[in-house]
Amino acid sequence: MRAEHVRLDRVSLAFGEVSALKDVSLSLGRDEVVVVLGPSGCGKTTLLRLVAGLIAPDAGRVTVEGAPPRPGEKTALVFQSFRLIPWKSARENVAFALPRLSRAEARQRADRYLELVGLSRFAKSWPAQLSGGMRQRLALARALAAEPEILLMDEPFASLDAQARELMQVELMRLLERRPATVLFVTHSVDEALILADRILLMSPRPGRVVEEVAVPFPRPRRDTDTRALPLYAELRSHLWERLRDMVLNDPGSDFHGRR
């Protein structure tokens, strides 16, 4: 059993009238990879913001190692839209995320992590000069360079094409083998969840809550074996798909509500 790292205790949060999360409780073990799977509108991103310490819950408690989280202290966020600073070079973008280091140290650290994601040649390039996959690797390098204990990933590969997306998933697993971290990964892709997760939390929308927890027992490293060919993979996949489909069809706020 892993030691508990992050804990949410009956957390509720509303934005005005709209309830984003209702009575969400969950616990992340140290260096565990937990994927939150759910349709849009189920408060997945809100969950990450809470753990990052960017927002506070209306009710309940969020703790990291027993204390309320403070932004940038133990967590780093990776965003779907990259959020790179367009007027800073790749190196400066990574160095910006290291406010506690001196300029020289930040620069050195940035170069090390650019190397790690294979972007050394582009250290002086602006984000506009990079391809989508390269921009996401840069965003990943920025998050990893802070050497966070907890990596919070908000659909980080959703805007990449299918091929770049698979490469990035493998890349992420490779990086985590080198330097383990607790990962809370949000996606709406069933395959991505099954490939990456130790555990999947299924969330339902309006208000967002955790409705099911699925352990993913495939052996690691998964990049060597073809996990997708395992019989259990197909079984879990169809189960998760069905649950997701039901949620979307039964959600009055969804575009697909009531279709069969």
């Binding site: 990052a52 960017l54 403070r70 932004p71 940038g72 202290e73 967590t75 780093a76 966020l77 965003f79 839209s81 959020r83 600073i85 367009p86 007027w87 800073k88 910006f96 995320a97 290291l98 406010p99 506690r100 582009f122 390039s125 602006w126 984000p127 506009a128 000069q129 391809s131 989508g132 996959g133 802070a146 770049a164």
Partner: protein
Amino acid sequence: MAGWTGTGGRSLRPAGAGTVLVLRLLFLGLLLLLWGLASATVPRGLIPSPATTAQAAARLWAEGRLQTAIGQSLLTYGTGLGAAVLVGIPLGALMGMVRLFGRTLDIFVFALAATPRVAFIPLIIVLLGLGTEAKAMIVFLGAVMPIVLNTYAGVLARDGELIEMARSTGASAARIQLHIVLPGALPFLVVGLRLGATIGLINTVVAELYTAVTGLGGLLALYGNTFRMADYFVIVLALAAIGVIVTESLRLLEGRLSRWRLPDRP
């Protein structure tokens, strides 16, 4: 798109710039031709020919009048515009950063910006007299408004997503302003500087006409009123040249500051 380094996108620029230069020179030639034709057809020498104007410029230069007038005007212009930059940028930035401060002040700034600044000239003369201070103040009042308002707008147009990203790294408020908000406001700021520089030059001439008559504005009035049309044209061209040099310099500055955008342009 994959693996594209962006250097290829820039190879078009020098060729394009060369073409534009040639076309501009051709257009200048056309203007001179039209000017020559006009001077030949309009009676009684109301429009001096390009050659006569060039001779007048040489004469005014030899007499030292042109340099003196340009010097006087540039002093007024530089002082007023410099003060507008020194006041306008920090004021606009502060209004954008401290929301309560900005929301309290902005309506007054808008009101002042909407009032024709010529209306203040009698007041300025009463307070500051007819000398350089009064002139610089007239330039300042014209130039400062677009600089304040554009800096303000630039800071308000900050990117909320980038700010959230910065917050998530543990960046302090000061670090976020310095690295995200202020650099993001630069394109707006440069537009404000260009507008301010243009209005400032107009106000330089206005100031020289309304207060003690000096500088290029003074000569403009003198030569215009005495029908010394060749001399008058020299002054007009000198003012145009100053305007072009200042705004083109600011455009170069803008290009340098936004180099990071270039690769995205087709």
